[in-house]
């Protein structure tokens, strides 16, 4: 298991959309390395044949009827928006077009 580097943290912060300055990157990489040390034992016990659990209580086939309900008005939808215009949420320019 590789140690978590400062560069790793910078990359992760970009993925997570959290701006971090140099000091924060230093501090965070130190803390994360320490935390990871404390928890890496996990991969030691997890054998190939052990199934993964993602839901603690197994349920299946939970479906909703196809009936509309619970709509917000446009006013309610936009009431807490940091910025809005013409009934829509307004955001600054997007550089990275999909």
């Amino acid at each position: 298991m590789s140690a978590i580097t400062r560069e790793d943290v910078a990359h992760l912060a970009r993925l997570a959309h959290i701006r971090m300055d140099e000091n924060e990157l230093d501090k965070m990489s130190g803390e994360l390395a320490f935390i990871m040390d404390a928890i890496t034992s996990v991969s030691e016990v997890a054998g190939q044949d052990v199934p993964r659990t993602s839901h603690p209580i197994p349920l299946r086939n939970v479906f909703r009827e196809d009936v509309p309900s619970g709509m917000l008005t446009q006013e309610q939808a936009l009431a807490m928006a940091p910025d809005a215009e013409d009934g829509q949420f307004k955001v600054p320019a997007i550089l990275d077009g999909e």
Binding site: R14, L15, M71, P92, A93, D96, G97, E98
Partner: protein, 504 residues
């Protein structure tokens, strides 16, 4: 960013050296009443941010619940594509930040799609059948809609800001992914168009999507790569996003083949990237290359539980499937006795369903074809509308046929009646009564009109008397005019011959 014009080879030059490998990701918006994971209405064209619940805005605390109807529609689509339906499948989160994605992750399916390993026989125009292997069809949710403002072009690159409408966020999607398609060769573009067309027809026929490509109900991402002729090693592929008409899919595939061929022929290498389709220039332009931002960190969606399908459930849905479009067309053509050409014209005119319904309601196949492909098509053309949107129904056509059969109206009046139906005046019989359009069969009135026509057209009369009976038509015209089209043409002909003393 200024548009860069890429070098291209001609299509023939490209084909001489390279073999194209295609792949398609077609997104189909389902026409359920509500969204995939929320109870907001699934509608089009409504005021922005009105088809939303707290779930669709990703407000703090909300949880998704799966729309059971969307699951059934997805299974039906899987069955129609000859897929295996997963016994167990679930949802996963695809994590990426984008303002049209309210939770900053898309709820999708990752390594366990609901349908997988299917195929579709795609029929090309000359009747050749090409089998396309389907890798998977999985359920996911659509994103909201961004409108870029501030730039001159409305394009994202120039925009100072963008507006977001989440009405479309969460609309159920099925993404159909093909396996790599090889062997299409120079028919690659034709196959691309036929494949997307056939997917569109299937989802429309299943009743699970409105299938209107102009509204984005069916959207295609086209993957294209080239390999040197004789090679079996795939080249680097590009993905051209959101090609939203069947014609554009063909163009995009052709263009990418020509562009990539030029890159390879000049010794370069193709960049793995997303490309954007430009309708105006019929070219693709470079989007963004694959980057570390594409680490989507998929993991099982903890807020949703797995779906287990049973044989009983799947068989019930299979029993509900309509006849596949290709099989249905074969059957109808045989039943109706249309020639290949006649039938193709009907299909291309988009009135197959209307004619089928008209025949179903009692009209003969030839009469149904005559009206839909003739006068109704002409009226639609004049009105610049789709035939199906003109407002004439199969029941109207059947009623017109009945009025003709009982000699209440003739063909000429029938055309007028259809015009009035299209104008919204009501049903044919009611229009005939309201406008007093019934055929004039009173010989007294007809005799007088014929006499007048004979007197006004001595030249024509001479020809008839000289034995040119086809000239009688020139007298019928004025009579019809005088009776405002309400005369029975056959009876007029008899009276002309009586008055002039000629016989057949």
């Amino acid at each position: 960013m200024a548009a860069v014009t890429d070098e291209v080879l001609t299509f023939d030059e490209a084909m001489a050296q390279y073999e194209p490998v295609l792949g398609f990701e077609v997104h189909v918006e389902l026409n359920t009443k509500t969204k995939m994971f929320s109870s907001a209405p699934n509608g089009f064209g409504d005021e922005p941010n009105t088809n939303v619940t707290p779930v669709d805005l990703g407000l703090p605390g909300v949880l998704p619940v799966v729309n059971g109807k969307a699951v059934e529609y997805s299974i039906k689509l899987g069955l129609a594509l000859n897929c295996q339906i997963a016994e167990v499948c679930g949802f996963a989160r695809k994590n990426y930040f984008y303002p049209d994605t309210p939770k900053n992750f898309q709820t999708s399916q990752y390594d366990d799609p609901i349908a997988h390993d299917g195929w579709l026989d795609v029929e090309l125009e000359d009747g050749t059948v090409f089998r396309v292997e389907i890798e998977r069809a999985h359920m996911e949710e659509d994103a909201g809609k961004l409108t870029h403002q501030g730039g001159a072009s409305g394009r994202i690159q120039d925009a100072a800001s963008s507006l977001v409408d989440y009405n479309r966020a969460g609309v159920p999607l099925v993404e159909i992914v093909t396996k790599p398609i090889t062997g299409a060769g120079e028919r690659a573009a034709e196959l691309a168009k036929a494949y997307v067309t056939q997917i569109r027809d299937i989802v429309k026929n299943l009743g699970i999507s409105d299938a209107r490509m102009e509204r984005g109900n069916v959207r295609c991402d086209a993957n294209v790569s080239l390999m040197p002729k004789g090679s079996t090693v795939f080249g680097t592929r590009t993905e051209t996003k959101n090609v939203n008409s069947t014609r554009a899919v063909a163009h995009a595939v052709t263009y990418e083949i020509q562009r990539q061929a030029a890159v390879l022929a000049s010794g370069g290498s193709v960049t793995q990237e997303t490309r954007h389709w430009q309708e105006g220039t019929r070219t693709t332009t470079s989007g963004r290359p694959k980057s570390d931002a594409d680490d989507y960190r998929y993991f099982p969606e903890p807020d949703l539980v797995p779906i287990h399908t049973t044989a009983e459930w799947i068989e019930r849905l299979r029993a509900e499937l309509p006849e596949p479009p290709a099989e249905r067309r074969k059957r109808l053509q045989a039943d109706w006795g249309f020639s290949d050409e006649e039938f193709r014209d009907v299909v291309n005119a988009g009135v197959l369903d209307e004619i089928a319904a008209t025949i179903e309601a009692g009209a003969s196949a030839s009469a149904a074809r005559k009206w839909w492909m003739g006068e109704i098509a002409r009226l639609a053309n004049l009105a610049e509308k789709d035939i199906a949107e003109l407002g004439v129904t199969p029941a109207d056509v059947v009623e017109v046929e009945a009025l003709i059969a009982e000699k209440t109206i003739n063909d000429k009046l029938a055309k007028q009646v259809l015009g009035f139906v299209a104008d919204g005046e009501g049903a044919p019989r009611a229009i005939v009564e309201a406008r007093s359009l019934a055929v004039v069969s009173d010989d007294g009135a007809l005799n007088a009109a014929v006499e007048a026509a004979i007197a006004e057209n001595p030249g024509v009369v001479d020809k008839i008397k000289a034995g040119k009976l086809q000239a009688i038509g020139a007298l019928i015209g004025p009579v019809m005019k005088a009776t405002r089209g309400q005369a029975d043409a056959a009876r007029v002909r008899e009276i002309v011959m009586e008055q002039l003393g000629v016989s057949e």
